[in-house]
């Protein structure tokens, strides 16, 4: 349980008790370690990330442990999941030639989705990407992959040349080079990571604020009306987050596919 929620539950902090609103903030994202090994503390987000990885591994392992020609049960579900990623994310960007990247994109999508959806599951109730340290490794995997593929398929100079469209006069080239270099090497991966982090961070903060406010405003007086309003907003944000968790995983994976496509095919 995070700080302010614990204070509310333990002390019965309500609006008419003379208790100030314990506004959720950054402290809602800091967790006491379950245990420490030297200076390393094992926290809840780490546990949830491992849990998310296990969920994805076990799901696909169970689905395709003994694959049958006519799929049934879990295999059906697994095939539907893979085909959805192939048809909605991979093929539109990479075409049939990009099918070799399907395992990467499927793993990436479901790992991010399960980490995101932890936010909405009672007891777990924390989106792992709301801690940016969990997002950067995913971004670096994508970043180094598309750089490697770009240099491999287009060569060192060729890759840089494709960053600026042909037919641009050379003085404009000089003006655009710093912008293109920064865009490509810094801001493209930066926006990829920060968007996922920002959305999950904001979603969790909103949910915490309205949930805490519902409890804080709850009383047998006019405060009940305020509490009902806050509760309604908490439900609204919860429903919105069901969509956001899926959408953020989808956007991250789709952008990964388009970045790989632009590295593999220069004219993309």
């Amino acid at each position: 349980m995070t700080g302010e929620v614990g204070v509310l539950a333990n002390n019965g902090c309500h609006i008419f008790n003379g208790c100030g609103f314990p506004a959720p903030g950054l402290q809602s994202f800091n967790w006491k370690p379950f245990f420490t090994v030297g200076s390393f503390g094992f926290t809840k987000p780490m546990l949830l990330a491992i849990l998310a990885a296990l969920v994805v591994i076990v799901f696909f392992w169970v689905a395709f442990w003994k694959p049958k020609l006519v799929p049934r049960g879990m295999q059906n579900l697994g095939e539907m999941a893979i085909l959805a990623i192939r048809d909605q994310i991979l093929r539109p960007s990479l075409g049939r030639k990009g099918d070799s990247y399907l395992p990467l994109l499927v793993s990436l999508f479901f790992f991010i989705y399960v980490m995101n959806v932890m936010e909405l599951i009672p007891v777990l109730q924390f989106p792992v990407p709301a801690r940016i340290g969990f997002v950067w490794p995913l971004v670096f995997v994508v970043y180094f992959l598309y750089l490697y593929l770009g240099f491999k398929h287009q060569g060192l100079l060729g890759y840089f040349k494709t960053m600026i469209p042909p037919g641009v006069p050379w003085p404009i080239y000089i003006i655009l080079v710093p912008v293109e270099l920064l865009r490509f090497f810094i801001f493209q991966p930066f926006t990829l990571g920060v968007r996922l982090f920002g959305n999950m961070f904001a979603g969790h903060l909103l949910l915490t604020i309205f949930t805490v406010a519902t409890w804080y405003l709850l009383s047998l007086s006019v405060g009940l009306l305020y509490a009902a309003g806050s509760f309604f907003l908490a439900i609204f944000v919860f429903l919105l987050e069901i969509l956001v968790t899926l959408l953020q995983a989808f956007i991250f994976t789709t952008l990964t596919a388009t970045y790989i496509a632009s590295s593999v095919e220069p004219a993309h």
Binding site: D87, Q88, I89, R91, P92, S93, P165, I175, L176, P178, V179, E180, L181, L182, R183, I186, F187, Q188, F190, T191, L192, R195, I251, T254, L255, A257, T258
Partner: protein, 96 residues
């Protein structure tokens, strides 16, 4: 191929086109956003460096504005022109 088969194929083609449009739209949107940031950072940085050397701090915000202008110009040049979308032609059957 039967009419039913043609209809299914047309739906699949439409779905593929919609998915492609979605992926392109996402890429364009985030590329544009990255250009805006990169323009300001690149020329803001150059302005800041020159400003530090010549002791004119104003060159930093001027550089940022210049970079923003360059980014916007480049975005218009690269993405501003409306793309011609090929639509499947309707069969002229003459029975209207």
């Amino acid at each position: 191929m039967s009419d039913h088969g043609n209809g299914a194929a047309a739906r699949t083609a439409q779905d593929e086109a919609a998915a492609q449009g979605r992926a392109q739209g996402l890429e364009t949107g985030w590329t544009v956003f990255s250009y805006l940031l990169a323009g300001m950072a690149a020329y803001g940085g150059i302005g800041w460096l020159i400003g530090r050397a010549v002791h004119v701090p104003l060159l930093f915000p001027i550089g940022m504005l210049l970079g923003l202008g360059i980014s916007i110009g480049y975005i218009i040049h690269r993405f501003g022109r409306q793309q011609v979308v090929e639509r499947p032609r309707k069969e002229i059957t003459g029975d209207r």
